[in-house]
Symmetry: D2
Subunit: 308 residues, 4 copies
């Protein structure tokens, strides 16, 4: 298939189900993909932060892409993260994930190293020059500790280096600058990574959303996306507020015992397990697992949202 220009719609960052031994659980992954596709999503993003890409070995990453791309067979666009610290290491991942079937790669600013705007520009230019598929920028300051400046992104959009952006910065004012600036670059897709203000992002002109919570409730996000496209802002707001309430499940983990990542990813997987989509809710090391009590709280959130 030709990769859509721009990419639009709901494109969930797909969780990576693991076995109790922490290997990729292929049957569960396939069920999760079917669960998402059946809900009407418009694409799939594997090896993102929600996919625990930071925790997966290179072999596991390859397995995930092969599994999902092979299963979908071009039915929907498959984006894959190429998450690593710098250009040469990212390029190795680009080669691996495109060989495994990814139709676009998603790339952050350099991290671990202290970087600079001119280095970020060179990073994306170099990767785009060598990538066989479109490159989508991934703006996730909470992980890489740099915010991609809108001007930089739009410059690279104008030069055809970037095909789109997933914005997980939480900064809607900067996001708006991308959306309005991107009107000059019609094939460039601007997608929000927010679970909580996706309606607002779509209202101001975003092309789509990449919400981690869509693993748990893909129908909700697809419904909201359609309401937004139809101009039913009141309906979209009500749906979004329901999803915001559901998002409370990401905070069930005791902050004295675990980080927010452990809590959120653990809760997504617990919810998928409780809903019967995946076989095992385990997360990768060194994340702390949810307790039984915390998992019960996840179940309550699901029940309140009518998902159990």
């Amino acid at each position: 298939m030709t990769f859509p220009a721009p990419l639009t719609g709901v494109v969930p960052p797909v969780c990576t189900p693991l076995t109790p031994e922490r290997e990729v659980d292929v049957p569960s992954l396939l069920r999760l993909v079917d669960h998402l596709v059946g809900a009407g999503v418009h694409g799939l993003f594997v090896l993102g932060s929600t996919s625990e890409a930071a925790f997966l070995t290179d072999a596991q990453r390859r397995r995930v892409v092969e599994t999902v791309a092979g299963h979908l067979g071009g039915q929907l666009p498959v984006l894959a993260g190429a998450i690593d610290m710098t250009t040469p290491r990212v390029l190795d991942h680009v080669r691996a994930v495109t060989a495994a079937g990814a139709e676009a790669v998603v790339v952050t600013a350099p991290f671990y190293t202290r970087t600079h705007p001119s280095e970020i520009v060179h990073h994306y230019r170099r990767i785009a020059a060598l990538s066989p598929v479109p490159v989508i920028a991934y703006d996730i300051p909470v992980a890489v500790h740099t915010k991609l400046p809108a001007e930089l992104v739009l410059g690279l959009a104008g030069d055809g280096v970037l095909a789109g952006i997933k914005d997980s910065s939480g900064d809607l004012a900067a996001f708006r600058e991308l959306v309005t600036g991107a009107r000059a670059h019609p094939g460039f897709g601007v997608l929000t990574g927010s679970e909580l203000i996706a309606d607002a992002a779509l209202a101001l002109g975003a092309d789509g959303a990449v919400p981690g919570l869509a693993n748990v409730d893909p129908h909700g996000y697809v419904r909201m996306y359609r309401q937004c496209r139809a101009g039913d802002w009141a309906g979209a707001r009500a749906e979004q507020e329901r999803l915001c309430a559901l998002f409370g499940l990401t905070a069930v983990g005791d902050p004295a015992r675990m980080g927010r990542g452990s809590s959120a990813l653990g809760a997504f997987k617990a919810a998928l397990h409780l809903r019967g989509v995946i076989d095992c809710p385990v997360t990768a090391e060194p994340q702390v697992p949810l307790s039984g009590e915390e998992t019960e709280k996840v179940a309550k959130f699901l029940a309140c949202a009518g998902l159990l």
Copy 2:
């Protein structure tokens, strides 16, 4: 050889010379190792931040360790960074670098993901359980955006999980807490990563130093280390102040054009090139190279320090 317990002395984080095509320049790397060993250093740390580990592909990382460990043949301890985001990925590097001859591995807190002290503890425990060689913690908040708490490190020292720490936090008060606390754990090595206050760190009881600038002037750091060990604090201070002046070369890069990393690593390599140790001063992508004018400034710093 048996890995020293504790590790002591000057242990430079070895730069990784690259060819113009950005492959590992093995002959230059061997000359650099000889340059350091000839100056009397007490160990070598490859694949650290100064080694551009964040920029090297897995194949290049392996090549570096094989080259250095093979060349040294047990003459001096060789530590290798296993720098990656989380436990499973770090474990892959541990396997690779120990297979290639590393006698200890150096491991940071998880990064990219949001982490928590209990997760950091589990991370180190798991890695130590599976590593065939001693594990040394690498505290580098500027890169991983977490500071390792002294209490956490000392707890892991007491349990035999960690064999030492390289502290690149710049926080001498916290470093002192490590040094005094480590007296209860005699085999545990506490080393500073500072180029600028290594004399102060040694004065308060550090076991050694891992200064990037020792690539450029290993004799200076070895001399200062011996002065400290001999209680010649005035001599050590004078030597340290000379090295502080030399360190000014890391700031030659124009901050409007490049980040501090590009400037510092570019200057180390330019200095090694100017001193005739390596063939080519190129740094890995996406770093910005020094201009001719900036390189001339490096030459002036070398001349002032009597190194040219």
Copy 3:
């Protein structure tokens, strides 16, 4: 007048015009107030960040409140910032500004000192207990380096301690939590401090907006507010996008020469001077003034927005 519960509408944070000698320019301030009131704003907030409250002496602060409150005579609600580091110092300001006629006080979390949620709660409780007028929280992490947690604010709303919040955090997801949570506390007003996503904030249920740029174009914000209230989301979005373009004037200052505060406040005052509202565009020390060339850029922004 009774202070509205909740406070709603467009409530500009009023700039403080200064004479060339940097005293409060009372005639200019009165003209500015008339300019805002004439545009149909719903209240005025003096001594906020946009008012340069951080730069005004106690005598100047008093003068500003007396001038504005005296001039308005109860026609519109007048809120005054009581901006200082901790409870006892804030209480002194509360006394002063209410004596001068303020009908509500606007109070940040403690700053300079390292604080804690329980201390923030005690801070607001103590101030509310002693204030003769309603207390409105001011969430401005860029200034005080603490984000007010939504749960904390809603708890204080429920207890009647706080009458509302001005949220200048830029975090619309957290803002939404306030808006939806505040439905349980009908008199509590939730206002955004954003210039750039006020339409989005109103769309998700905000009571009003406190945009600094409303000094320059109060008609624009009043128009947008009315469009939002009428459900004309397309019209509101177009108006907001026009205001976003105008907001570009806050970046005219050369970042090599001045901070963003100097640039933004200097540009607001330059615009008011160019529009004939105030006599002198000077800002308080130690801010850097705009150059002639930078002021010309402000004029171009005004011209593009049809304001000159």
Copy 4:
């Protein structure tokens, strides 16, 4: 008296004893001053962070300076903080504290507002031009969220704008740059604000120390200062390590219940109360008081240090 150029020695930042009603407790303050002077300190710094300057009203600040300066009568230099957000407000404090007898003023970078190096320079120049007494820079990034660059400080030292610096940044490498750079400006005093590495700071050439813990154990810091001056580095290190152990009292406060400021200032005052120096350990609002159990822990630290 003429203010010493450079200022040297141990200059404690004097705690401000309060009555149960949270007014300045003048008799306790006088006893505290006598306790410090009797131990041989070389100057006193009132209205610093340890003095709870951020919490004291203008009237209380004036009272503190009058009390201490009046009591000392020129016997020792009295420095006073003029802690406020920006130039005009700081200038008001400069007038007040010098009228009350302060012989030097201690001034931070601007805070609350976003600042810029050129604005910081202008801030200090303006204050120095109008201050009747020497101006000492106060580098305290934890409070003001800006680090004073060494180059900037040394430039102002060279121009006679600044008479010295109290460095509470914790960054000993940057401190060393000040110390070595200040050799070109003989009257400029470089003092560390660290309790924990004062020996290291003195070893590399600092003129003195301003340690909050010296309220509790002034004899210890005076002893260590004399050892450093006499070149007895082993003795100084042992004394410093004893003081580091004592400093553990600042962490007695439960972090779930209070911030680090409440814990540290509460512990200093609890210790002074337990030692019989002040009548009441209360701290200013909104700080959380230590519990009885926490106070007992303070007592244990004192006992271990031989101070009870």
